[in-house]
């Protein structure tokens, strides 16, 4: 079996499943946020919502799902277009560089989120 060193779970099937599970978690989280703001919020009620541990945990879960989901998703995109076949070595260099940038951005998203959730 060929394993890829740049995919998320090193296996296509694992990535496929993870992409779906993380997608569903993200969808649940966005619906939760939508329901929370639908009736209107002020600072006090919004803060009170996020002071609850389960909301912090749910938010962290969404952040981690975002990191995995976007990693897998953007890997699919990059490996379709920036390839050795289409543009030679440039394709590989460009793809790996972009992937490093993407993982850096996702890492920042997660750390930033943790800082927001537990730092204030």
């Amino acid at each position: 079996m060929v394993t890829s060193v740049t995919s998320f779970g090193r296996s296509g099937l694992s990535d496929w499943l993870l992409q779906r599970v993380s997608g569903v978690i993200l969808l649940a989280y966005f619906l939760f946020i939508l329901a929370a703001v639908a009736g209107g919020v002020d600072y006090a009620s919004w803060r009170a919502l996020f002071d609850q541990v389960w909301v912090k945990v749910f938010s962290l879960m969404a952040l981690l799902s975002l990191a995995a989901h976007a990693w897998i998703g953007l890997w699919s995109v990059l490996t379709d277009y920036l390839t050795e076949r289409l543009m030679g070595t440039t394709g590989n260099v460009l793809r790996i560089s972009l992937q490093l940038l993407i993982s850096l951005a996702l890492f920042i998203y997660v750390v930033w989120g943790v800082q927001i959730l537990w730092g204030y």
Partner: protein, 124 residues
């Protein structure tokens, strides 16, 4: 592997069926969302940092430009989510036919437009 087999089709010479448009849009919205999440996390930061930053964010969100950006992000998220759910349904083997695929693609597009308009009405 034989090395003389044809490697690709010239996709530019083909008319894309609606299912192909639905697919590429799912991809484009996915890439947009990756960038958009930076804005949303910034918004979460402002909303929770202090009462002042909360007020500042509320103020920013009253500008038409900010509303437009927000609506754009919402539209991408709505489309991507509906198309994502379509993927899940089809992964269970439901609607995996030419007609099923075409119908699902149409449904997703129409539902996205309806929900996005509703969202626009709500935030304005």
């Amino acid at each position: 592997m034989k090395d003389n087999r044809p490697v690709n089709l010239d996709i530019g010479s083909m008319r894309l069926p609606i299912t192909a448009w639905a697919s590429i849009t799912h991809r484009i919205t996915g890439v947009i969302l990756f960038v958009a999440m930076g804005f949303l996390i910034w918004g979460l930061d402002m909303s929770l940092r202090s009462a002042d930053s909360f007020a500042f964010l509320a103020e920013v969100l009253t500008s038409p430009l900010a509303k437009l950006v927000f609506l754009g992000i919402a539209a991408a998220l709505i489309y991507h989510s509906l198309a994502g759910v379509k993927h899940l349904v089809m992964d269970f083997g439901i609607g995996e036919s030419m007609e099923g695929g075409t119908l699902a693609a149409r449904l997703v597009i129409v539902a996205t437009i309806v929900l996005t308009v509703l969202m626009g009405v709500w935030i304005w």
